[in-house]
Amino acid sequence: MFSNRLFNILVPIISVLLGLISGAIIMLIFGYNPIAGFAALWNGAFGDAYFFGETIRQVTPYILSGLAVAFALRSGLLNIGVEGQVFMGWLASVWIGISFELPMILHLPLAILAAAIAGAFWGFIPGLLKAKLGVHEVIVTIMMNYIALYLSNSIVRNLLSDGADRTENVAATASLQSNWLAEMTFYSRIHYGFIVALLMALVMWFIINRTTTGFELRSVGFNQHASKYAGMNVSKNIILAMVISGAFAGLAGAMEGLGTFGFMSIKSGFTNIGFDGIAVALLGANTAFGVILAAFLFGILKIGALNMPTAAGVPTELVEIIIALIIFFVASSYMIRWVILRFKKEGK
């Protein structure tokens, strides 16, 4: 009765609902009004043009980091290293942005391309190790995250500035920022990057669903041995999947470097764009369209949450718990399937 397709749509929706209900229960336990809490969250994301602009600003890198994780997952690889690839992309885009004087038509694409290449390179290393030596990509990418963090901090301090905590702003010819959009949204940090993000979602959909390469990548994700037997080059596809995944992640970094901030600063810890991308991809069922929807949901939750302490007295961190629970529910989809099937049986 229930097709797989329907399950794939039902599971994320039920997971989100369960996550939100859990959030409401937590609010009740701690004596908050859940309706006021969620109303504050909604207003915090859509209340006026400024909040809306900020929400879009947050959604932009989420789409790209979600695409990065989803693309690798389609080939059976878990890229936890999106975080590090974001750092490298951020660094590369800002580096190009501050060190050249070019007309915009060359400068901006060059900076964005540099970010994609830097991210791709950071994905290439774990891909190569996985393909040639069978090293588990999860551990390597975790390690690569830390290397990226410390390396980019050091480069910002020693090469891109004179021992300062941040670089100078990127040249206007390499910036994604837009006065027009900012004015329209009461000077939120919204930028043209979301066009890039949506375009990339289209690119991912096209590669995965409409090209031979995409077919091979998916095939390797389903069954490496069968793919090899069918004459596909498994190693090549693993490396390619990590490289493309890393390129998406690098672009997410460019969104921050060229759009939101316009510079790179020394970071004491991770940005969480990459880690949240894992949640986005899982919830979006690893499809391009699903990733966009999931990125919007998490962007709304994150930005809306900032309004919760002032409007309803609820600590912002509640949203982190809700997001964690949503991931749990999606991951435990076996449980949701089992419950649905149980109900079906009893209904008969």
Binding site: L129, I139, S154, G269, V330, S332
Partner: protein, 319 residues
């Protein structure tokens, strides 16, 4: 004489950083030997650190000088229960173990910060009144040279960590329980056929990792940071996971790897005192542990063999 002083300083600093890693890595060994990947070690450490700080602040008036020990025990128990979430999701509900572990990390930080806001009305807790202090071992610290190196100014938890590593080695490799735990991680169906309850063993493995991970986080909080905030545990859990793999899933290997990582971390702090390392940019010291782990994994330092069924949910009756 100066060189001995220097060595004992480096050793002391290494051990301070290594101790929480040893505890947590031992927990990781338990979980992964039973066949369950535990990326959630970071979250378990966060939970342990949070609970230890809160119970230390709350119960100081009751237990006085025994507070640190009480806090450690509470942290272990709560983290073991918290690890149940990972166990239920990944063993019973067959969730992807890596994803479930990632969710554990999110959840622990979310809960910790949410409750901190709730109870203390700010982003971090107060500083505790009863941390664990470093001390000298009486008599033994009088031994020339060795006394300075190993028995002066260490925390008692460091000795506990090293002793536990040997205890865990004994449990995993010399007892029937350890044999069952390992068999469940290598070939769950064979174990099941021989009457071992695969699910029970895996639950025990994950809960032990919760207890040890919690202890690791608690020790870090009580010896190093003395309060809880979003920056208390940043990555130590992942380093502990690296230590598990670097140590080839062996308790004593994990011990060695953890001490090595502690040493690498302390180097970036004390390297300014060492003439040889003075001119090496600190970034190389910072990334050294991670680069070495990748090299180790790539087989340059000997091949690491993971438990055979690591990461696979066991479904009764499937072949």
């Amino acid at each position: 004489m100066e060189i001995i002083e220097l060595i004992s300083r480096i050793l002391g600093a290494s051990v301070v950083f290594a101790t929480p890693l040893i505890f947590t890595a031992l927990g990781g060994v338990f979980s992964e030997r039973s066949g369950v990947i535990n990326i959630g070690l970071e979250g378990l450490m966060i939970m342990g650190a949070f609970v230890a700080i809160v119970s230390n602040l709350t119960f100081y008036s009751v237990f006085g000088s025994a507070t640190p020990i009480v806090s450690l025990i509470i942290a272990m128990v709560v983290s073991a229960i918290f690890a149940l979430v990972h166990a239920v999701a990944s063993i019973t509900f067959r969730a992807d173990q890596v994803v479930s572990g990632v969710a554990i990390n999110f959840l622990a930080l979310g809960i910790g910060l949410f409750l901190t806001k709730q109870w203390y009305d700010k982003g971090q807790t107060d500083f505790i009144e009863s941390p664990i202090y470093s001390s000298n071992v009486p008599l033994l610290n009088k031994i020339p040279i060795l006394g300075d190196m190993f028995f002066t100014g260490w925390y008692w938890t460091s000795y506990l960590a090293i002793a536990l590593a040997f205890l865990v080695w004994f449990i995993i490799f010399k007892t029937p329980f350890g044999l069952r735990l390992r068999s469940v991680g290598e070939h769950p169906m064979a174990a099941d056929t021989n009457g071992i309850n695969v699910y029970k063993m895996r639950y025990i493995g994950v809960m032990l990792s919760g207890a040890f991970g919690g202890l690791g986080g608690a020790v870090y909080a009580l010896t190093v940071t003395h309060n809880f905030s979003h920056g208390t545990i940043v990555g130590q859990g992942f380093i502990a996971l690296a230590a598990v793999i670097f140590g080839k899933w062996h308790p004593l290997g994990a011990l060695g790897a953890a001490i090595f990582f502690g040493f690498a971390q302390s180097l970036s702090i004390v390297s300014s005192d060492i003439a040889l390392l003075e001119n090496v940019p600190s970034v190389f010291m910072l990334i050294a542990p991670y680069v070495l782990t990748i090299l180790a994994l790539a087989g340059f330092i000997g091949r690491a063999e993971a438990p055979k069924s690591l990461g696979e949910a066991y479904v009764k009756g499937n072949r």
